[in-house]
């Protein structure tokens, strides 16, 4: 009886893993097909639509990076009479507020909101909501303080709002400090797979495109109607993505709206960031999975994709459980109808292929970016995937514990930015 239960559990886990495998294959093929089409028919996209735009920049102890982003804001090509930049100094203890004030004095479209110790430090969602109260643009965009966008990024993003069905937009994130070390290189590969292939495919296939919390934005009216960012959610971006879709709007991904980010540069920082993402995603999975299935605003394909997206951070745990279940099945050889060989094959196949940015997605992404040498690092993604197993398992157990005990435990662990990207920007500008 015990063996039969193990077998059924194993088959279920394998089916889930195969579902993700197929999903990523479809994404990769869709992007490859689309890239060829694009080459054959380059189309001119109108940039006439120019709404008023408010850019929100939440910043907490970001003195090393805030200056370069504000400088970039002054260099944006978007008409300044239609632009408002709001810096939310979230109770910083360093020079962030002073630097922002200097820019505010020099440029009338830059505004600084200072939050006190009592108000601030409650996470990004809380800071963004504080900024939203002062925003008067038709469109609200958000940038993290360590980001460095293209000069023409605003027009590229906001042009999508000409379509009344578009409620939110998302641009592409490119890792700036990639050559720094192994961690930044692997994060960059994950980003290439995630943005060049995953997001692009979901957009082209009209599935659930994800708002990533930065390098993107919303119609202000819709955002206010939805009640702004939810401070109780650790993945406030994923939470809003699903609220937008459930309200009958869509998120549009703009591949050529690119922005540099300063990636985490140590395994410790990687753990903190991914732990927050994993726990936040799992929160959203509990909150939206049923609502998604019941919704009459989404297509069947969107529901399936939404469920897979919401539960993506359970995958490392599923792989771990598959090993735990599969190895006894393989060793004990009790099974009559499930060949142990196939059990081992199925687990190892998925384990090797990985989860977060599966190898073929990254491979195709780097190929489309014209970076064939970066592909040589792809085997090392196995380590990032293995590292995600304890991260996601801990996130799940902590979330389960907080649900059982009724303790919230949603402490926002902010990613520290060293400002290492500055030297790379100088190099790139001098290129």
């Amino acid at each position: 009886m015990f063996i039969e239960v193990l077998e059924i559990l194993f088959l279920f886990l394998t089916a889930v893993m195969v579902a993700y495998l197929v999903r990523h294959y479809i994404f990769t093929l869709a992007v490859l097909k689309n890239s060829q089409k694009k080459k054959a028919n380059p189309s001119f996209e109108s940039t006439i639509y120019k709404p008023t735009v408010s850019v929100l920049i939440p910043a907490r102890n970001e003195e090393r990076v805030i200056g370069r982003l504000l400088q970039r804001m002054t260099e944006l090509a978007y008409p300044k009479d239609r632009l408002q930049v709001i810096v939310i100094d979230d109770a910083s203890r360093d020079e962030t507020g002073k630097i922002a004030e200097q820019y505010s004095k020099a440029y009338n479209y830059i505004k600084v909101i200072h939050r006190s110790e009592r108000e601030g430090g409650r996470g990004k969602a809380s800071a963004l909501n504080a900024g939203l109260r002062y925003a008067d643009g038709e469109v609200v965009l958000c940038f993290d303080a360590d980001y460095y966008p293209q000069r023409d990024i605003v027009e590229k993003l906001v042009k999508e709002f000409a379509d009344p069905k578009v409620g939110a937009v998302q641009g592409r994130v490119v890792v700036l400090n990639e050559p720094q070390n192994l961690v930044t290189r692997l994060v960059s590969l994950e980003r290439i797979g995630g943005y060049r292939v995953d997001q692009e495919a979901r957009d082209k296939l009209n599935l659930i495109t994800q708002f990533g919390g930065t390098v993107g934005g919303f119609r202000r009216q819709l955002l206010e109607k939805l009640g702004g960012w939810d401070g109780q959610m650790l993945a406030e971006d994923t939470d809003l993505t699903f609220r937008v879709y459930l309200a009958g709007y869509k998120v549009k991904y703009v591949l050529d709206a690119e922005c540099y980010e300063e990636a985490v540069d140590s395994w410790r920082a990687y753990w903190k960031q991914r732990y927050r993402w994993a726990k936040g995603h799992m929160q959203c999975a509990f909150k939206y999975s049923l609502k998604l299935l019941k919704s009459d605003k989404l297509t069947f394909a969107q529901k399936i994709d939404g469920i897979l997206l919401l539960n993506v951070y359970f995958m490392p745990i599923i792989v771990l459980v598959s090993w735990i279940v599969g190895i006894p099945l393989f060793v004990l050889k009790f099974s009559q109808w499930l060949s142990p060989f196939w059990a081992a094959m199925l687990i190892s196949m998925y384990s090797v292929v990985g989860n977060f940015a599966p190898f073929y997605e990254v491979s195709v992404g780097t190929y489309l970016d014209g970076r064939t040498h970066a592909q040589w690092l792809i085997p090392l993604l196995v380590f990032a995937f293995l590292y995600n197993i304890p991260i996601c398992t801990k996130a799940f157990l902590d979330l389960l514990f907080s649900k059982l005990t009724g303790k919230v435990g949603n402490h926002w662990e902010k990613t520290t930015h060293s400002g290492n990207g500055n030297s790379y920007i100088i190099k790139l500008l001098n290129h």
Binding site: D152, L182, A374
Partner: protein
Amino acid sequence: MIPSPNLLSMITVFFGILFFLILTFLPSIVELKKPKDPGPRIIVEYDHIYLSDLENRKSEDGELKANVSILGEIVAILTFLPDLES
């Protein structure tokens, strides 16, 4: 001393796995030691066409169309001229 079949198979498996790992990670190690990848590419920026530019373009197009219509009239007159001669 001839190793037992079990020991032989264990040694084979050990070296097999070692060979597989070296083969898998060798390109990565080479790229890490001597990176040939140019690193983060320069994010593409290009000048955007503003409404005023488009209006200018439209007026240029209008001028071009006017020129084409004038040219058409000249051609029509020229084709009519031989008829006059006849």
